[in-house]
Symmetry: D3
Subunit: 136 residues, 6 copies
């Protein structure tokens, strides 16, 4: 029997949508006010979901405490109260759109999730905009 | 790499569940208090989701501003502060159940979404009842 | 020791902002799209709060079950799935603005609340607009 | 045309994560503070979703009132204000993890859902932890 | 200039509404299903608010980190994953109604709040029922 | 008859807690990770409330459309997608703590609110931390 365990987490950060290899005009055209050179920021709400067999011994797919600790160690500690463009090396050459942040989070967590289980990341950039990424 | 971009929107409207070709007794039997001849109404919460490849140039599946504008033009402007039965031609011969409203919204948006991308609509009629429609 | 007990409730209804004694032009000027002659509607979220002494025997200010039943009998049964302008006599000569609906709800509940206790009503017309009324 | 109808419900209950056939030490090791012998508890939020063809006559996949009554009769009446370990026979020999509670809920509802329709259960144990179960 | 700083927190616990000095019949009459001898439980959501002068040096009324740590130490550690009736001495002779839990929380926190500042506690027992206590 | 009209709004921004006239060590000691020199950010949720007499002609305390436009013009346009420290002159010499941002918002709106009405601002910096300011 397969089920999905989901855990919500939270971090807040500054960012700017911007490509170094584009002119300021092109960045403005595509990214608008999200290209403020002084940055803006968000409270990012994150839901991480793991799908797999329910262990008959424990009744868990995965211990939610273990999952929560993984998110804290690999995502919240890395991103919270940071400037994504300047402080997080993953975005040194990657535009921190919500899509790309979701992919980076998925890639950071995937090695720690049992290889037989599936992983999904949902990232809210604002209460009205969110991204879902399942790894392919 | 595929991801899903979701955008929330909102409209409020009056409606009545009712078929012209049924007797009042049959309408009452099937639709109960939702068949009030004087109408009742809802704050409809809408989530529109587009799934597709992340564009490597922009880091977007779709610009959420573009998606938000589409919803505003084709759904909010058409439905907000309206009587769905009387003011919206799509429901002239279609009972405005939440299921049918979701289908109408999907059909209105589909032509404006890149044909390679998938579209999903979630429509909350009340905070406790909602419909999901994916186009098939 | 005084405390406040609050209970949330819900009803949905159609309405129109409109004064019979005004011209259509004046109604449009003041009430805009809320003056749609075919009505529109809302999911109204209601919070009713009673402030008073904590009864030392029961540990209750008021039994929340009793409060919930009062709201169901006097408000939800009277307003839910109704057209406020046409189906609810309180609004026969009263424009059903959120302010006036909150006052009507307060007046309907006040006789059933212990005279030594205070009553407050919060009425959400949409998730972003709400009214607070305390009876004076 | 297929759509999904979802209905939210709620119950609150006490429970303890614990296997009778394990030592107290092993229960503590695996279940930590969730193994408090005096029990702890939760407000469980439940979303039940049914996917199937939209009936062309009614415009419903399933009448949400019928779905709501099924949840009330088979889940809320059975679980609300109960101790899951002591008062609910389904958990006499089954550890009431959120995963297992979701499976039990799915199994209780499945016989009442049209066999051509799909059933999904989402169970929030806390606002930050939830389980999704689709029956396989 | 005075402002109010509010911090939300969370704990879950089992409880039973019950007075040892009443008969089971009287407990049932007054507390109904909340008097289940095997206990039931809740996710309690707590908001703690401190009102006082904004410190001109720091721009804080109170450092929200300090407030958060106080709630963690004195409330969450004492109540989370506990049986309020059996595990928390404050309720040894006090019926753990939401009103009484709010008063106990206020009394536990008051000594750690600057005497010139006001303290308010809001305690959600369920998403629809909550208590406000200001200390008098 | 007095009532309160409340309107919710939203902006997102980068900021840093920091006093120019303090050493970096003292800023770190008091403001911790909120003193990241590269900034971090938030989705700020704002509720603006106006209390006054209900106008007998219109049934409004204040037209919520007017209130919403005031917030858009004076707050959202000024703060959204900005760096509060660098882009907003109000914070040129004022540390942008949530308390101080709430005071600035109140001061910006007060001139546009009828002098007989009261104004209150609630500012959520994160979903768990918020400030209330009433102008004194």
């Amino acid at each position: 029997m397969k089920a999905t365990v989901s855990r919500k987490a939270h971090f807040n950060a500054a960012h700017r949508l911007y490509r170094k290899d584009w002119s300021m005009a092109q960045n403005d055209l595509v990214f608008g006010k999200c290209n403020n050179p002084n940055y803006h920021g968000h409270n990012y709400d994150l839901t991480v979901s793991v799908t797999g067999e329910i262990n008959k011994e424990t009744g868990f797919v995965v211990d939610v405490k273990t999952l929560s600790d993984l998110i804290k160690e690999h995502i919240e500690n890395a991103f919270d109260h940071k400037n994504l463009n300047l402080d997080v090396s993953d975005f040194e050459d990657l535009n921190p759109t919500a899509e790309n942040i979701a992919v980076v989070i998925w890639n950071k967590l995937r090695p720690y999730i049992d290889s037989e289980n599936d992983l999904e990341v949902v990232l809210y950039e604002t209460p009205r905009n969110f991204i879902t990424y399942k790894g392919n």
